[in-house]
């Protein structure tokens, strides 16, 4: 049963969702625009007997997550872009040790210290590695405060299920804005046994070791292959996306999170002008919804794609790989903390149609 809608800030909803998902271990270091996640945790963890640590750095925080996760506990850290860069070593180790953990990135504009306003320019970092070695993270991109809640809970379930890191990718807009959210009376928590957890022997005749070191090349290669098989299974089974109006659309937008919200209004505005526009909104950025994009590219009504991002063009590479040259893929991006307006995107659609470049 959903409760009555309340007005809450995105960052606070992430923290509330984590607690509802059973997370009792939060480690963080403050950085705008995600600090309210920490504030909320600092206040609540004490009340419910959980662990809250403001670490001395982002590097410490992610390694505390590693430790708590190795002991089988649900653990989370959150940060924003420069802080997430610092966490990459730990993220790679978590992937190597196959530990379930949730990391939240409320993305701000970069590179470097950049600015503190919203961006989507950490896409490459999130889905293509970020840290070293052959690994993947599940990357989920909510588009509203309600989704921040539901998908943070789901991130914990997916992390436990696959013993890997699940990342919530938001941006400064989503983290800072207040929107109504309706909490459930009870969370759909999937209780997963963790016989691998390093919690002491407890009378067993063996002890568990959590590690990411495999010195023997054949052992490591076997591990790499095992991880690949897991990732392939996830690609087959855990892709999430939203598809709008692609059956009669002439131009199909591809956008996620904050950009997808603006694009939804563009679709309505275009329809009033007699222009049929559709959208594929990736919800999981990894695994990427390549298959559906490829299928939509095959539709005769679809003349072109327009990828819209708060970056200089990152996800568009994956869109082009999925479309495989079957239709032109255009790009429109804003950066530095700016958001595109409906008019800018609509103008871009009109330009694509008029240019005959469809």
């Amino acid at each position: 049963m959903a409760q009555k809608r309340v007005l809450m800030k995105g960052n606070e909803v992430i923290a509330e969702a984590a607690i509802r998902a059973g997370c009792r271990n939060y480690f963080g270091y403050p950085i705008t625009p995600q600090t309210e996640v920490m504030h909320y945790m600092a206040k609540k963890m004490v009340q419910i007997g959980g662990n809250f640590v403001q670490a001395e750095s982002e590097v410490s925080a992610i390694n505390m997550v590693y430790g708590a996760a190795a002991a089988g506990a649900r653990a989370m850290t959150s940060s924003s872009s420069p802080g997430i860069s610092l966490k990459q070593e730990g993220i790679s180790y978590i992937a190597g040790a196959e530990l379930p953990a949730v990391v939240v990135n409320i993305v701000r504009a970069g590179p470097g210290l950049g600015g503190i306003l919203p961006a989507q320019s950490d896409y490459f970092q999130a889905v293509k590695g970020g840290g070293h070695g052959d690994y993947r993270n599940i990357v989920i991109a909510p588009a509203s405060v309600q989704e921040l809640y539901e998908m943070t809970v789901e991130a914990f379930n997916l992390a436990d299920k696959y013993r890997m890191l699940a990342m919530i990718m938001g941006d400064g807009t989503l983290g800072q804005m207040m929107e109504p959210v309706a909490f459930r009376d009870e969370e759909p928590i999937e209780k997963i046994e963790k016989p691998w957890a390093a919690v002491g022997r407890g009378g067993r005749d063996f002890h568990n070791t959590v590690t990411s070191i495999y010195i023997d090349p054949d052992d490591l290669e076997a591990k790499n292959k095992e991880l690949s098989e897991k990732y392939a299974y996830i690609q087959e089974n855990e892709v999430r996306y939203e598809e709008i109006g692609t059956d009669d659309a002439e131009v199909v937008l591809v956008a996620y999170s904050t950009c997808s919200r603006i694009c939804k209004n563009v679709i309505k505005q275009a329809a009033e002008m007699g222009i049929k526009v559709g959208m594929i909104r990736p919800i999981t950025l990894w695994p990427f919804p390549s298959k559906i994009i490829s299928e939509v590219a095959d539709k005769p009504n679809v003349k072109a794609f327009l990828d819209v991002e708060l970056s200089q063009g990152q996800m568009v590479e994956d869109v082009r790989l999925a479309v495989l040259g079957k239709k032109p893929v255009h790009f429109y991006g804003r950066n530095g903390g700016n958001l595109p307006t409906q008019k800018e995107i609509l103008d871009e659609i009109i330009k694509i149609r008029e240019g005959g470049n469809v």
Binding site: I116, L117, Q176, M177, M178, E179, R261, L339, T341
Partner: protein, 179 residues
Amino acid sequence: MVDFSVILAGFGGQGILSAGKMLAEAALYDDHEVSWFPSYGPEMRGGTANCSVVISDEPIGSPVVNYADVVVCLNQPSAEKFESYLKPGAILIIDSSLFSYEPTRDDIKYIPMPASEIATELGNMAFATISMIGCLATATGCIKRDTFESALYEILPERRHKFIPGNMAAFDKGAEYAQ
């Protein structure tokens, strides 16, 4: 159909962000879709603060407002900055007790109102922004008076309910300037 964008702006500490939240809460009480987005830029410390509130019957796209139906300003730099954000025919409300301002556009409705004076008379400076919400709500019809009052009873903790009649007096005073 309701589809309504407001920018509230002033110096940090004038209660701009709280006023925006109250407006958003009242809209939620009316079961609209609503978003509230603060300026969280580096300009906040000692400088200007603003927030955008969008109220709609449809899911909200961008919570960042570029074309506003109403701009409420409690200082001159904000009025200078945000006048250009107004849609044609939209409303600019300023606190004329704090500064005087001549709008540069003639395609907008300009309402200077002595919000801080109203608040002083009612004995609580926090009522200044409420009187301006009273004005904007009445001028646009986006929130009904009774809805706003009921929302206050719902959001404020009971120990603060004693302030609600004062808030509503400020709201009503502000409403007088809406004509």
